[in-house]
């Protein structure tokens, strides 16, 4: 990788003061599990890195009974946090599935949410694709078996973050700190489709940092779960996955939030599935119908039609698992 200078920022203020306004010139380093790979492959060549591991690394209760997770919290600490597991099981289960033990021991929450796409054309130095300022998306006529089944392009990545999907399902907000103060952005507004923002995957500006994830207090009757389908159990990203957050009254679903992962350039909220499930008694049949609704608008590419089926299954099983029902 190209040489860079390094700032060991003692806190948020110092870290912010070290950033700049030009994209990819100065970058934050959390665990480095994504960033160093990008740099070794010359996909980004920052002149300076700013350590953000000394930002808030705690998980704290909020006054309303939710949790506030510092961006410097490592995945392993989130996984081992008893309150987080009890209150937001889907988030913790998804953290548990990330990569490998070594990655979870190093990777941070901030880094996970801001990691860059894994499209193999994007990750290959030789392909100057749209996202890198080139003229073509190579996935369209190329190897697109792991690409998006939702979205109009022009870039067809799937968002790589496990945690992002659970953040949407639980209605999390992100605190973004910048030179002129901090703003709170809903997780759902944070991630951006490529037709809005081709060169980045979210609204974060180069001179801003994501400092906290705030999860609202679980509503009474909230039951939630995640279900992932993976080709390999470790060292890889899921083929498709889903998170279901159901507000239950007995066996009736009062309301639901269903979000799919690895199917679109952003965590993909399945509004139709949520509507299909609301007011229904939870059963294999109602879960299956909701899942069908979830993939209704899918537009698979030349080699990834199989993902529609995988996503559908993931939604069915996430719903059943959330409801405490047997998942076959």
């Amino acid at each position: 990788m190209k040489a860079f200078s390094y700032v060991d920022a003692a806190n948020e203020k110092d870290a912010l003061a070290s950033l700049g306004t030009e994209r990819n010139q100065v970058l934050a380093i959390g665990g480095g599990m994504d960033l160093l790979g990008m740099m070794k492959d010359y996909l980004v060549q920052p002149v300076r890195l700013v350590n953000v591991k000394r930002l808030d690394a705690t998980i704290a209760r909020t006054p309303d009974g939710g949790l506030r997770i510092g961006s410097a919290v490592r995945l392993i600490d989130l996984i081992e946090h008893a309150d987080a597991r009890r209150m937001y099981p889907a988030l913790v289960e998804l953290a548990e599935q990330v990569g490998t033990p070594q990655i979870r021991n190093a990777g941070t929450v901030g880094g996970n949410l801001n990691q860059r796409p894994r499209c193999w054309y994007f990750r290959n130095e030789e392909f100057h694709c749209l996202k890198k300022g080139g003229a073509t998306c190579f996935s369209v006529n190329g190897e697109n078996q792991f690409h998006a089944i939702f979205g109009e392009g022009p870039c067809h990545i799937v968002h790589p973050s496990n945690l992002a999907v659970a953040c949407l399902a639980y209605g999390a907000t992100f605190r973004l700190a910048g030179p002129s103060g901090a703003r709170e952005v809903e997780a759902e507004q944070y991630f951006q489709m490529p037709d809005h923002n081709l060169y980045a995957e979210n609204v974060l500006q180069p001179n801003e940092l994501l400092t906290h994830v705030t999860l609202p207090a679980p509503m009474a009757g909230l039951k939630s779960a995640a279900y992932e389908v993976r080709f390999k159990q470790a060292h890889d990203w899921p083929l498709a996955f889903a998170t279901a957050a159901l507000v239950m009254e007995g066996q009736t679903v009062k309301s639901a939030r269903i979000v799919m992962g690895a199917v679109a350039p952003v965590p993909w909220r399945a509004n139709e599935a949520e509507r299909a499930l609301a007011g229904k008694t939870l059963s294999e049949e109602t879960a299956g119908r909701a899942a069908l609704a979830a993939v209704q608008g899918a537009q698979p590419m030349s080699r990834n039609a199989y993902k529609v089926r995988v996503a559908r299954t993931a939604v069915t099983r996430a719903i059943l698992k959330a409801g405490g029902m047997k998942v076959v």
């Binding site: 700032v7 070290s18 950033l19 700049g20 001179n207």
Partner: protein, 216 residues
């Protein structure tokens, strides 16, 4: 072609001298003098951020660092981009942990930092300062193997041996926390290591058979 940087130059083996021989002969530091002297930093700085002074940046040239490796203090001079693995292999002659993928995807470089396994190829050496680093070199006491190493030898848990140091470190980290893991627990703890020769069955056997591992 001049090597683009340290990462690439290490892969460049046209000299006919074995890389390890070369590195050990040149000795620590010699290889460090890298290509980027005079690299200018174009600096977006505090002015834009509207804050007082930005904290000082170090590098991009070599900077002095101190690492605590296997209980010993190690003073080196490396660039901020140097990984912990390269710092130990290329600047301290500790070539026990292997560099295979250099992308956090195989586990050959696994070390134990503050009690947890980490990919040393994906950890900056400057960031490893102030932490308790344990590498494969720290396990054997003289000629007496660590119980995990002994178990690997007895179970014949290696073929080419490139993945072995990493697997041993992952097994040590597991057994220090959980001396009697179930098969599932052991598999999960070893998930982050890959063996191209396919020694998994015996690696698992070794991890499960090892007795008497305690941090000491």
């Amino acid at each position: 072609m001049a090597p683009k940087d340290e990462t690439r130059s290490e892969l460049d083996e046209r000299s006919g001298v074995s890389r390890r021989f070369f590195l050990k002969t040149v000795g620590a530091g010699g290889v460090a003098a890298s290509v980027i002297d005079g690299l200018q930093e174009a600096l977006p700085h505090a002015q834009e951020a509207g804050t007082a002074a930005a904290p000082a940046a170090i590098g991009p040239g070599p900077v002095p660092i101190t690492l605590n490796v296997n209980g010993q203090r190690l003073s080196l001079k490396v660039e901020p981009r140097t990984t912990l693995l390269d710092a130990l292999r290329n600047h301290a002659g500790q070539t026990g942990n292997k560099r295979v993928c250099d992308r956090g995807s195989c586990g050959a470089c696994t070390m134990i930092i503050d009690g947890r396994t980490r990919y040393a190829c994906s950890t900056l050496a400057i960031e490893a300062q102030g932490h308790d680093i344990r590498s494969i070199e720290g396990l054997a006491k003289g000629t007496v193997l660590h119980p995990v190493q002994q178990a690997f030898a007895e179970a014949d848990g290696m073929m080419c041996g490139f993945c072995t140091p990493g697997f041993v470190m992952s097994a040590v980290a597991l057994l220090e926390k959980n001396p009697h893991p179930t098969v599932e627990e052991a598999k999960r703890a070893l998930d982050g290591n890959i063996c191209r020769c396919g020694t998994y069955v015996r690696v698992l056997e070794a991890a499960l058979k090892t007795k008497g591992v305690a941090r000491g």
